[in-house]
């Protein structure tokens, strides 16, 4: 059996994002820009052809969600930390952004997202920990999907019920715990 190690997973994810963005990303973009610049002037229509070889995960590469995100109301789906949340918001169910509602139990493991804080423009690693052991709250249901993948990459999939390691796997709601800078 493979033992699930949340620390090691977190480290891997952090390293992956860190390794996949800055230096190589800049080089790739610079290279593409150098090649593409004489052919395509800097116009919106040319952008589709000036795509970097790898998806840009840096804070400057804002998704539709990130461009519309806000920092004041964590009971709304467009709150910045919810860029990859799926489910009922615990902030609407008697809990908070990192707090389970009374009687529920936080899952020790989770899926993760990388969300841009509109206040400082930086990316942060968010752990979407499910609160478990109570029936579905069914309030403020959101389904955002920045950098969300399929279940063969489970730690980046938000459809899975992440109540592993809790007394009951019954899903109640989801929190968005800030882990640190991405």
């Amino acid at each position: 059996m493979i033992h699930f190690d949340a620390d090691s997973l977190g480290e891997k994810v952090l390293r992956r994002f860190a390794g996949g963005t800055s230096r190589r990303g800049i080089l790739a973009r610079l290279g593409t820009a150098l090649v593409a610049a004489p052919l395509f002037p800097v116009l919106p229509v040319s952008r589709a052809n000036a795509a970097p070889a790898k998806p840009d995960r840096g804070p400057e590469a804002k998704t539709t969600f990130a461009r519309g995100a806000q920092v004041t109301d964590n009971t709304k789906c467009d709150y910045w930390r919810y860029c990859a949340i799926d489910g009922a918001l615990c902030t609407c169910c008697g809990g908070g952004v990192h707090t389970c509602p009374p009687g529920a139990e936080p899952s020790p493991v989770s899926w993760v997202g990388t969300c841009v804080n509109p206040e400082d423009g930086k990316s942060y690693l968010i752990a979407y920990r499910d609160c478990c052991g109570k029936s579905y709250c069914n309030k403020c249901n959101c389904d955002n999907a920045d950098r969300e993948t399929q279940i063969y990459v489970p730690q980046l999939n938000n459809d899975i019920i992440w109540c592993f390691g809790t007394q009951s796997m019954e899903y109640h709601c989801s929190t968005a715990v800030l882990v640190g800078a991405a």
Partner: protein
């Protein structure tokens, strides 16, 4: 109270939706301009009762009139009985009614009628016996609702009377909604394969003939399965390969194809389509790349092509800030196997909008790599299926639980089914 001479007018007025359809339980069937509303809540009982009284009164007045036709309402004493079904028909679809309902509704696309329900509690997976005799439901429940002892099992229902035949206990399963390929049946109907994650990945092998759990086999780093005749299962993996798990011998074995996609940069949707006649799966990535794989001990994977380019628009990109047509939803595509036509839910958006509801359905001819038709669709559907009839029906559903049924011969809406469901749509095999 209408006069007896107005009875044709009364009948017409009953057929029109005078009963307000504010109730969440009111079921509306529409075909063309005609609408029939059947109220199904206590709140509507009184409104309905008023109509019944009006109708009864009309008949009473009518019965006093001379030279009228004999009454058609039966007055014979009756016994309660129970309806039965035929085995699943190619015109049927099964729609999971969603996260908070505990059943999958069976509809006939030809009549638009609801025929019954298969019990599919929250987060269960439904699979059809290829011979049409049984419905299998892979389930998880606790002994005391949300607590107590967890129980994982496959329920077996007879397809004619929908009565429970057996529960087959097993060690566990992944709890996730909206997936077609976490519970699959071998084409001969003898084995069921249930995907498990604890969070280590594995497959439960179920003997459906003996109705017995056989074994759990590890499937590290992979998910979304297809049964491979004579071999076992194949599954998509996080290293971008297709793994094949050989279960036929005494010892199980995993082999992996060369990586052919990026699981994080341009993932292939879990809900790929299976074509048993061609022994192939058809896969779709977030950017709109179409791959096919011919199944076997060593699957053969085709070079991908762009769905968007097949429609004459620029290929989808994983780069940010690119507005284009992208595939999306939860059950993103449907394959009409006999004709090789793939129907894909498409929306305008940017990369990472892969769960968005659709504005159009694109019909791709897999043989010629051409999008032969683009249809504008209502309801921002996230689920799509196509019946395997010779004259197929397209079935799609959005978040509001309205299901639309389109006749593909005419391209027109055949039915609009309110409150039908918004979960996975399953269709019966062609006959």
């Amino acid at each position: 109270m209408p006069e007896s001479g107005e009875s044709p007018g009364l009948l017409r007025s009953i057929a029109l939706p005078h009963t307000p359809s504010r109730s969440p339980r009111a079921v509306t069937y529409e075909q063309g301009p005609a609408t029939m509303t059947f109220a199904a809540t206590k709140g509507h009982f009184f409104a309905s009762a008023t109509w019944v009284m009006a109708l009864a009164g009309a008949f009473a007045v009518a019965s006093m009139a001379p030279a009228r036709a004999a009454p058609v309402a039966s007055v014979e004493p009756e016994q309660s009985d129970v309806a039965q079904l035929t085995p699943p028909q190619p015109s049927w679809f099964f729609i999971n009614r969603g996260f908070t309902e505990n059943s999958s509704a069976i509809y006939d696309t030809v009549t638009g009628k609801l025929l019954g329900h298969v019990e599919t509690p929250q987060l269960t997976d439904l699979a059809l016996d290829p011979a049409g005799k049984f419905y299998y439901v892979s389930s998880t429940l606790w002994t005391k609702a949300s607590r107590g002892t967890r129980q994982d099992y496959v329920s077996v229902f007879d397809s004619v009377d929908l009565k429970l035949q057996a529960d087959i206990p097993m060690p566990g399963r992944l709890l996730v909604g909206g997936r077609l390929n976490n519970f699959v049946i071998s084409p001969d109907g003898k084995f069921g394969y249930v995907y498990n994650m604890s969070p280590a990945s594995s497959v439960n092998v179920i003997d459906l003939v003996a109705r017995k759990f056989v074994k759990t086999v590890e499937l590290p780093g992979c998910a979304s399965m297809v049964a491979v005749p004579g071999v076992g299962v194949s599954a998509l993996c996080s290293d971008g390969s297709l793994a094949t798990l050989t279960l036929s011998g005494a010892k199980s074995q995993i082999t992996r194809s060369e990586p052919f996609f990026s699981a994080t940069d341009d993932p292939i949707f879990d809900n790929f389509q299976v074509d048993r006649a061609k022994n192939q799966i058809v896969m779709l990535s977030y950017t709109g790349k179409i791959y096919t794989a011919t199944l076997g001990a060593k699957p053969v994977i085709s070079a991908p092509f762009s769905l968007q380019e097949a429609a004459g628009v620029p290929a989808g990109s994983a780069a940010p800030n690119q507005v284009n047509w992208y595939p999306g939803g939860v059950q993103q595509m449907a394959l009409h196997r006999a004709t090789g036509q793939l129907y894909v839910l498409m929306h305008m958006g940017e990369f990472w909008s892969h769960k968005a509801g659709a504005n159009e359905v694109w019909q791709l001819d897999l043989a010629s790599h051409k999008v032969v038709k683009r249809m504008t669709v209502p309801g921002e559907p996230r689920m799509i299926a196509v019946t395997q009839e010779a004259a197929p029906h397209l079935v799609f559903a959005g978040e509001d639980e309205t299901v639309y049924v389109y006749d593909l011969a005419t391209g027109k809406q055949a039915w609009k089914l309110d409150h039908a469901g918004n979960g996975v749509i399953t269709v019966a095999q062609a006959q």
